[in-house]
């Protein structure tokens, strides 16, 4: 049995690593703005968008990289993208208003997800692209366009249930999109509404890490594009959705060791690694391991833009050529909707340590000034260590690894920040801050609530002057991607 601390250290890009190195700055922010606090690094999202763009260039593909706004509520990330080579994918009326207000023009906005009439109306009114879920939505949109004499909107058809010949690849059931089997009637509908709707292409969005399933969907979409063409439409864009993933952990070996030890704990061959012996989907039954590990694959060597690159390089199952080549040869633009992958390394969530309760046996209980809704890593099955930022800036005595359980501030048994026993390089003290790194993609504010009148985290945007100098911050809502402080100095009356 292995008793050494089981660390799961976060992968940190240079900006986030430097920010975590500025502990006094982060402590000052929490002192002023309270715990929890979300810190965003807008420069990083522009760099990530450029990474996706370089994959487009490598495959000679045009098109758009749409940031899935739902991954993060902040204004600063979206505003920063207005000046990058990127676009935005909005999934609600509020997100659309945000995108328009941030300065995105209609050619760089796409509406996805379930839509209500007001959302559809503003989408058509402003002239953005509508990624349509199915026939009902298209009918509703066409009716709005005719009734209010709106411009003819560009629509994309979200498809699902792609078929394969030979080996049958199963995919999870999805409640979104239209089955390719029903493409015929959908095209009939589009023909009827030729004057009100402009179909620019088709797409898919699969909730899977498996590139094989996506390759099948992409090939199915290529064939669907052909069906559109044979009906006299001129489709030009293929939307491959999102799900490119993020690698959260710095070291593969830590992840391998952790998952092995978790298996051993579930099998009863070592003390539990979790609160109450939770198995993250695994359980033992008659000496055999049952269930499936319900965790995000936190160490992913191929994620984000590299995943897109791998997908485009993969040969199509029936058409034979690499998918990227087929897109290019067919003269189609590529649309992607990365959320998590574009928000990678774009922020962190800070929480103050309120209490450290020592137990006679087992890990100490550490209560934080946040609750489980403020950092939803656990909801997404993402296991990664927070970074300890001591209050006094450093050490009293030699660091000694400490096993702790992280508790939230709600009066609720289930309010655990994570059910996992977390190993920290030293025992935390009240007043210290724990920094959860890389939370900007879905794990920052997606589920934040005002339960029990506890505060919702404020958000700030930070940058470093000249890239190397002093850290500067502003409230998220005050951030704009310009660096002006007032009217340009007017020398006055000297003309």
């Amino acid at each position: 049995m292995d008793t050494a601390p089981l660390y799961l250290e976060p992968r940190l890009a240079p900006r986030l690593a430097a920010l975590l190195g500025a502990a006094p700055f982060l402590h000052a922010l929490v002192d002023a703005l309270g715990s929890p606090l979300n810190v965003l690094v807008p420069e990083q999202i522009a760099e990530n968008a450029a990474g996706f763009r370089s994959v487009y260039r490598r495959h000679h593909l045009g098109g758009q990289v749409y940031f899935a706004h739902k991954a993060n509520r902040s204004r600063s990330l979206v505003r920063r993208l207005t000046t990058a080579d990127a676009a935005v994918d909005v999934a609600s009326l509020g997100e659309l208003q945000r995108a328009l207000g941030a300065g995105f023009t209609a050619d760089r906005i796409m509406a996805t997800g379930p839509k209500d009439p007001a959302f559809l109306w503003l989408a058509a009114r402003s002239g953005i692209t509508v990624n349509a879920d199915g026939p009902g939505e298209l009918e509703a949109l066409a009716a709005l366009v005719r009734r209010y004499a709106l411009p003819r909107p560009r629509v994309l058809l979200r498809l699902r249930e792609f078929e394969t010949s030979g080996p049958r690849t199963l995919s999870r059931r999805s409640r979104f999109g239209t089955s390719v089997k029903a493409l015929g009637p959908l095209l009939d509908l589009l023909e009827r509404h030729r004057d009100s709707l402009d179909p620019v292409g088709v797409g898919y969005h699969l909730d899977t890490t498996s590139p094989d399933e996506k390759a099948i969907a992409l090939e199915g979409c290529l064939r669907a594009m052909d069906d559109l063409r044979s009906r006299g439409f001129q489709p030009r864009a293929l939307d491959v959705g999102g799900g490119f993933g993020v690698g959260y952990l710095a070291h593969a070996a830590q992840w391998d060791r952790y998952t092995s030890e978790l298996t051993a704990a579930v099998m009863g061959r070592r003390p539990p690694l979790t609160w109450g012996g939770h198995g993250y989907g695994l359980h033992a039954e008659g000496g055999t391991l049952r269930g499936a590990l319900s965790l995000y694959p936190a160490h992913r060597p191929v994620a984000g833009a590299a995943y897109l690159d791998a997908l485009l390089s993969q040969p199509a199952r029936t058409l034979g050529r690499p998918l990227g080549t087929l897109l290019l040869e067919s003269l189609y633009d590529l649309y992607t909707e990365p959320g998590r992958a574009l928000a990678d390394q774009c922020g962190l969530t800070l929480a103050r340590v309120l209490e450290v309760r020592h137990q006679d046996a087992g890990p100490a209980l550490v209560r934080l000034g946040m609750n489980a809704n403020d950092v939803t890593l656990e909801d997404h099955g993402i296991l990664v260590d927070p970074v300890l930022l001591p209050r006094n800036g450093g050490s009293t005595g030699p660091p000694e690894p400490a096993a702790v359980h992280l508790m939230g501030n709600l009066c609720l048994e289930a309010d655990l920040i994570t059910r996992r026993t977390v190993f920290l390089p030293r025992r935390p003290q009240p007043g210290d801050v724990l920094a959860f790194a890389n939370t900007a993609g879905y794990c920052m504010d997606f589920g934040a609530t005002r339960a029990q009148q506890q505060p919702v985290a404020r958000a700030v945007a930070v940058h470093r002057e000249g890239g190397e100098g002093t850290w500067r911050w502003c409230l998220d809502e005050e951030y704009w991607p310009v660096q002006e402080y007032g009217p340009i100095n007017d020398p006055g009356g000297q003309s």
């Binding site: 690849t169 087929l326 040869e329």
Partner: protein, 439 residues
């Protein structure tokens, strides 16, 4: 030897001594049990036949489908057995990562169902774990399936306890070996053989080999995955050691190149794991000992696996007339022609216009009058020489004008006097508003 059915040829595989000059052990005789010589090609033939045999008549009566969770050899053997008995066979898997095996299964008439990958937006409360759903479906009343259940079926172990194990003892003149080493997949062969050997001599040491987590070795489980196997009992093994994909390929190379044993990577992993384990003990020995490892299957299905990891092993000589042999200077010197000029040239000189894109893209939209020769095909044509006369001017087109420039350079090098590349390709042609047609 004469048989009434091919299934009678299952088992009684040879035990072959590995030349000490190859493995370098001075006091241990190392033997390979050649399970690859079973009629359907692997150690799984024994388990498949033993698990399916009794149920076949009933399954035929009830028109059942044989179902197994298998990524390879068990599926292969069951597909053959099902076919021989007029039954359909379905393999359900999320581990089938060897394309050659997949194709072979389809050729044998099997149906393959692949389970979905992990969820990207994980819902920890999800109860629809694909494997659980699979078992629920099988257990529904009225489901017409014969599920052989190799990971939990004792008949899997029994095939080796009654067959493989006793054969080894018989071939070693009635003695059990001092060590038995095997890769752990379903744990059926290692558990069954271990039982037979220990019944004969409790002192035999059994070493289980599992894959390292970083890469996969076909047919072996890694240290976490073995726990999902019902037949796996840690107490079976005196030691469990990891082997890597590199070990597997290195071991395979030794067996195929120096021992005349055309083993696949699993056999290679067993060989490497065995030699590594035994080398540490060899020097301290005072008397001669014997060790046996299992060669599970054959090399032929794994060329893609090797190519991905060690492309240099499958290196081919450089081909004549290849675009890869061109210098950047040659490519830059290729003659290009802008869209407007190309339109005029096409009208006046009628050059042969070759579209290098795939037939799928060509069928959707192309320049009127162009001929579609897909780049791969064109590449092959050029290896033999110029596929058209030198007096015939040629215009090459590809999506963005990059590939066509390379082929224009190659044709120029091959002596063609007037070949041009469409600048910016078909995309520039479209963007310039020049006509594209669809037939």
């Amino acid at each position: 030897m004469r048989y009434d059915s091919i299934t009678e040829a299952i088992g009684n595989t040879p035990l072959v001594r590995i030349d000490p000059a190859v493995h370098g052990l001075s006091r241990i005789d190392l033997y390979a049990k050649l399970e690859m010589l079973n009629p359907f090609g692997s150690v799984k033939d024994r388990a498949a036949w033993n698990m399916a045999r009794a149920g076949l008549p009933g399954a035929r009566e009830r028109r059942e489908t044989i179902v197994e969770l298998s990524s390879g050899n068990t599926a292969k053997a069951l597909a053959v057995i099902a076919g021989m008995h007029g039954l359909p066979f379905k393999s359900v898997t999320n581990r089938m990562r060897i394309p050659e095996v997949k194709d072979l299964l389809l050729l044998l008439g099997a149906e393959i169902e692949e389970l979905p990958g992990r969820s990207e937006c994980l819902d920890p409360m999800d109860t629809e774990d694909p494997l659980t759903l699979f078992h629920q479906r099988l257990n529904q009343s009225g489901s017409a399936h014969l599920h052989t259940d190799q990971y939990f079926n004792d008949l899997n172990t029994e095939a080796h306890e009654r067959g493989t194990g006793p054969e080894i003892v018989a071939d070693l003149d009635g003695r059990a070996p001092d060590w038995f080493l095997a890769c752990v997949g379903t744990a059926g062969s290692s558990t069954g053989v271990a039982r037979a050997l220990r019944a004969h001599d409790p002192a035999v040491r059994v070493i289980g080999l599992v894959g390292e987590k970083s890469d996969f070795i076909p047919g072996i489980r890694n240290i976490d995955e073995v726990h999902e196997v019902g037949l796996f009992d840690p107490a079976t093994y005196d030691e469990i050691e990891p082997v890597s994909a590199d070990d597997a390929i290195d071991g395979m190379l030794t067996l195929v190149r120096r021992c005349g044993i055309l083993a696949g990577p699993t056999g290679g992993a067993a060989y490497r794991g065995a030699v590594r384990h035994l080398t540490a003990l060899d020097a301290g020995l005072t008397e001669r000992k014997t060790a046996v490892f299992i060669v599970c299957d054959r090399v032929e299905s794994y060329l893609g696996y090797v190519k991905q990891r060690r492309p240099e092993l499958l290196g081919r000589p450089r081909v004549r007339n290849s675009v890869t042999a061109l210098s950047d200077t040659e490519v830059r010197a290729a003659r290009v022609i802008e869209v407007a000029d190309a339109q005029k040239w096409l009208a006046s000189e009628r050059p042969l216009l070759i579209d290098l894109r795939s037939s799928f893209a060509y069928a959707a939209l192309h320049i009127d009058g162009s001929v579609n020769i897909v780049d791969e095909l064109f590449d092959e044509l050029l290896r033999g020489g110029l596929p058209f006369g030198k007096r015939q001017p040629v215009l090459l087109a590809c999506p963005v004008g990059e590939q066509s420039a390379r082929y224009a350079a190659l044709l120029t090098r091959m002596g063609h006097p007037d070949v041009r590349s469409l600048a910016g390709g078909i995309i520039a042609w479209r963007d310039a508003g020049a006509p594209l047609v669809r037939d």
